[in-house]
């Protein structure tokens, strides 16, 4: 089924995330220290340039809609995956192969869950007008800075 235009930018970022996840798993399994370090670096770069904002957009704009639609278990799981990846990518000193493979696995599974379960559910829950408004709100959010995200995230974790 064709993705709703409002969700296309996030789906495109999912493609990048899938590529990174698979590269991370391959690097971890290779046992090659240089490849492992490169894969960690790619993930940290992606976290700073795209993933942190992507997580924030989903948490602020998508997950509340899913909750209203009764998808509490799905949202709880997606949030736990976000938190696990966030914690891991905020700890650049821990770069073992085992954690890299685990991070790749969580990221790949998370993207699949969003593409196969969360996004189709959103498309079913929202009418065309609501989807268009959601697309505009997502576009506005993209200008927010990572510092703002980190601040909000810390506030969220202490509540």
């Amino acid at each position: 089924m064709k993705r709703a235009p409002a969700l296309v930018p996030l789906s495109r970022e999912h493609n990048t995330a899938l590529w990174l996840a698979r590269a991370a798993k391959r690097a971890a399994r290779s046992g090659n220290a240089e490849r492992i370090q490169q894969a960690w670096q790619q993930l940290h770069d992606a976290w700073r340039s795209e993933m942190a904002r992507h997580f924030r957009a989903e948490e602020l704009l998508l997950f509340p809609v899913l909750r209203e639609g009764g998808e509490h278990e799905l949202v709880d799981l997606l949030l736990r995956e976000h938190a696990a990846m966030h914690r891991t990518l905020e700890q650049p000193e821990l770069q073992e192969a085992e954690r890299l493979e685990a991070l790749g696995q969580v990221l790949e599974g998370h993207v699949r869950r969003e593409e196969r379960e969360a996004f189709p559910r959103l498309e079913a829950l929202l009418d065309q007008g609501s989807l268009t408004r959601l697309g505009h709100e997502l576009a506005r959010l993209s200008d927010r800075t990572l510092e703002e995200y980190t601040y909000d995230r810390e506030a969220q974790e202490t509540t």
């Binding site: 971890a28 399994r29 990846m85 914690r87 085992e98 493979e101 685990a102 696995q105």
Partner: protein, 91 residues
């Protein structure tokens, strides 16, 4: 039983085999995700209490279906043992 009947039943068995393999694959994907989250959180791979609960449940379900509980239990113990070798990087 005529030959066409047997062929029909074999087709059903083949379809169920396919579904079984797909379900086992789906189970493995979920388990891999749990193991990966545990790894990131620094938690142990296996949880004996959880494994005991699963075995109790599948033994009861096996009896309800008229299956040998030991056969099904052996299959699930193989699943549990696979978790010990996660992640594949260190297998």
């Amino acid at each position: 039983m005529s030959r066409p009947d047997i062929e029909e039943l074999r087709r059903n068995v083949d379809q169920i085999d396919q579904q079984l393999v797909e379900l086992i694959g789906a189970r493995m994907q979920h388990v891999d995700q749990i193991l990966a989250l545990k790894c990131l959180a620094g938690l142990p791979r296996r949880c004996e209490e959880r494994e005991r609960e699963i075995l109790e449940r599948i033994r009861a379900a096996s009896r309800q279906q008229g299956l040998d509980p030991e056969l099904v239990e052996a299959l699930f113990k193989r699943f549990f043992n696979q978790a010990s070798s996660y992640p594949k990087a260190t297998a």
